[in-house]
Symmetry: C2
Subunit: 194 residues, 2 copies
């Protein structure tokens, strides 16, 4: 990946995206040793229940801490996809929840049932951790080891096993979607990552 | 307070400053309806256990999301005070843990035993919440009602009473230190807030 790598996580309040942003940042910054800025922004729309977190990862000091043209957008609902799709870099990765996002753009998306996988792992609440696992497997933005360390350091001690299952499910789902034969890889924006 | 208000929270890892930053931002952004940017930054020093979170609050959209000349610095250990004191605005508020910061600058500081008050409330772990209460009472950056709502929305359900006690202790300590007669109020940088 290029030196500056921008990630935007978006969905509704209660989907745990702020925590996901903090975990992703700590994985990259504390455990992978990168420069990282992690940002939440709130405006008048915050009362509407929208939630957004951003992580910028770099090998060098970061001048501007917010995502300008995200390399990755994770959208856990339709509204956030519609709001942010226009910001995505031309070759960027669009990751969506397969069940919660119905309308995917013509340019395609990597669609994974994060929430369903979380339910199967034990609780829908950990869909954010499933999504982080998939994001790591697909983009390489953080190492699986760093992500696991950051997850375990942040989640309550009583829910460690649940979160480990969620992370494994996400890593596996991400690896699987990347291994699948695709006739039009460029449509997913992942052509340069093969 | 002026339209753009910058807060930096600093200490060591494990003192809960990232969570404190998230709570403060959600209090101002979701419950008080302000524009807010909340940032964590990690660099090579992150492995050393330093922790820093920033919150910028404004009545208008925020252009640059990081604190440039903080209006408030909260320092929960000596190292973070030494590292960041030079950035504090001339009339800024310096808040320090009375037991964990031994050397206060000549210009003075508002010194409150956050960690001791947290212990008395039930657990040292909630020193971050005590500090947020004091910061709110002293600066008015967020309303006590918004802060309480944000705290209760973020902390585990099982620790709500503990966190409420910590918040009340912090609000009371902040109110008390502001009410105390001071012969040299300008030394604390709070002269313009009376």
């Amino acid at each position: 990946m290029s030196s500056r790598f921008e990630i935007r996580l978006a969905g509704s309040g209660g989907q745990g995206l702020v925590l996901a942003g903090v975990i992703l940042a700590e994985a990259a910054g504390i455990y992978d040793g990168k420069f990282v800025c992690q940002t939440q922004s709130y405006g008048p729309e915050a009362r509407g229940g929208a939630s957004k977190a951003e992580v910028v990862i770099s090998d060098a000091e970061i001048d501007y801490p917010k995502a300008i043209r995200p390399d990755v957008i994770l959208a856990l609902n339709q509204k956030s996809l519609d709001a942010y799709l226009g910001d995505l870099k031309a070759e960027g990765v669009l990751l969506v929840d397969a069940d919660l996002v119905q309308e995917v753009p013509e340019t395609g998306a990597l669609s994974i049932p994060f929430t369903r996988l979380a339910r199967e792992a034990g609780r829908e609440l950990v869909a954010n951790i499933v999504a982080l696992g998939a994001l790591a497997a697909i983009t390489g933005a953080v190492s699986p080891e760093a992500l696991k360390a950051a997850v375990l350091a942040r989640v309550p001690a009583g829910s460690r096993e649940l979160n480990e299952r969620a992370l494994e499910a996400g890593l596996a789902a991400g690896a699987k979607i990347m291994a699948a034969p695709r006739t039009t890889p460029s449509e997913t924006g992942m052509g340069d990552q093969d």
